[in-house]
């Protein structure tokens, strides 16, 4: 009987100590995968013509006076 009690106490102690364990490593979260709707602008920006249009616009309105 005493042996059973000692074993159950040991198991309880081990379980209790295991509960106190704290993971020392730092969890690093990576950006997730976008879950929203597809933006049609992405297709437009892939075109070379659109990129050239934006660059031409930049040279027209953003250059120094």
């Amino acid at each position: 009987m005493k042996r059973m009690l000692a074993i159950s106490l040991l198991i309880g102690l081990a379980a209790g100590l295991a509960g106190c364990y704290d993971e020392p490593g730092v969890t690093v979260y990576e950006p997730g995968v976008y879950k929203g709707d597809h933006d049609p602008l992405l297709d437009k920006m892939a075109s070379e013509d659109h990129r050239e249009t934006l660059q031409a616009r930049f040279r027209t309105v953003q250059t120094d006076r």
Binding site: P31, G36, D39, Q62, D64
Partner: protein
């Protein structure tokens, strides 16, 4: 591949807030939300400097890294956008952003913030380009029209420039050479002076 960036030349910015007004006008930004604002350092003292700040469309955007619902996406040209239909208004992106770019339209009790709003580089959001739905949620989509952000195009002194990062760098390099020195807007001396 172009990387769309903003650059504010503090030696040219005259704190007129024209960029803020242009942004609000172009995008019908709700009252209380400032997608762009002008910050002045050492205001009122000789040598004060002003810079116009909005979302900087970070290459490794911390807002996207912390978003629990993954509502951020980055276009092929590096513009960081988000889907308001997914946003739960938790505010994590606001805490993560070093520029204070994410804004919330509601200030009510119990943390009700509403959907996050921020600068879109005038590139709208996921709904169809230049649709009413897109305009209501995100504002104008000037990029789809072949135009650049209204704030930069309206800047009277060309302090604020927006576009391909390589082209911006060329312009700024020429300005610095013409001024005959390195920019003293940032760097160790600007931040700490000669005391450290």
């Amino acid at each position: 591949m172009a990387r769309m960036k903003f650059l504010c030349d503090a030696d040219r910015c005259i704190e007129c807030n024209g960029c803020v007004t242009a942004c609000k006008n172009e995008n019908e930004v709700p009252w209380g939300v400032n997608r762009r604002r002008v910050v002045t350092l050492n205001d009122g003292e000789a040598g004060e400097k002003s810079i116009s700040v909005a979302c900087m469309h970070c290459t490794d955007a911390p807002c996207a890294a912390v978003c629990p619902v993954d509502c951020f996406y980055t276009t092929t040209d590096g513009i960081v956008l988000h889907d308001k239909d997914l946003c739960i208004g938790c505010g994590y992106c606001f805490y993560a952003c070093p520029f204070g770019a994410p804004q919330y339209p509601q200030q009510e009790a119990f943390g009700v913030r509403g959907k996050m709003d921020k600068c879109t580089f005038c590139a709208g959001g996921p709904p169809a380009d230049n649709s009413d739905d897109e305009y209501a949620k995100y504002g104008a989509n000037r990029i789809a029209e072949g135009k650049l952000p209204a704030c930069a195009e309206m800047c009277a002194t060309k302090a604020l420039i927006a576009g391909d990062g390589d082209l911006i760098a060329d312009i700024y390099r020429k300005r610095v050479l013409k001024r005959g020195g390195r920019p003293d807007t940032w760097g160790w001396d600007a931040a700490y002076g000669d005391k450290v």
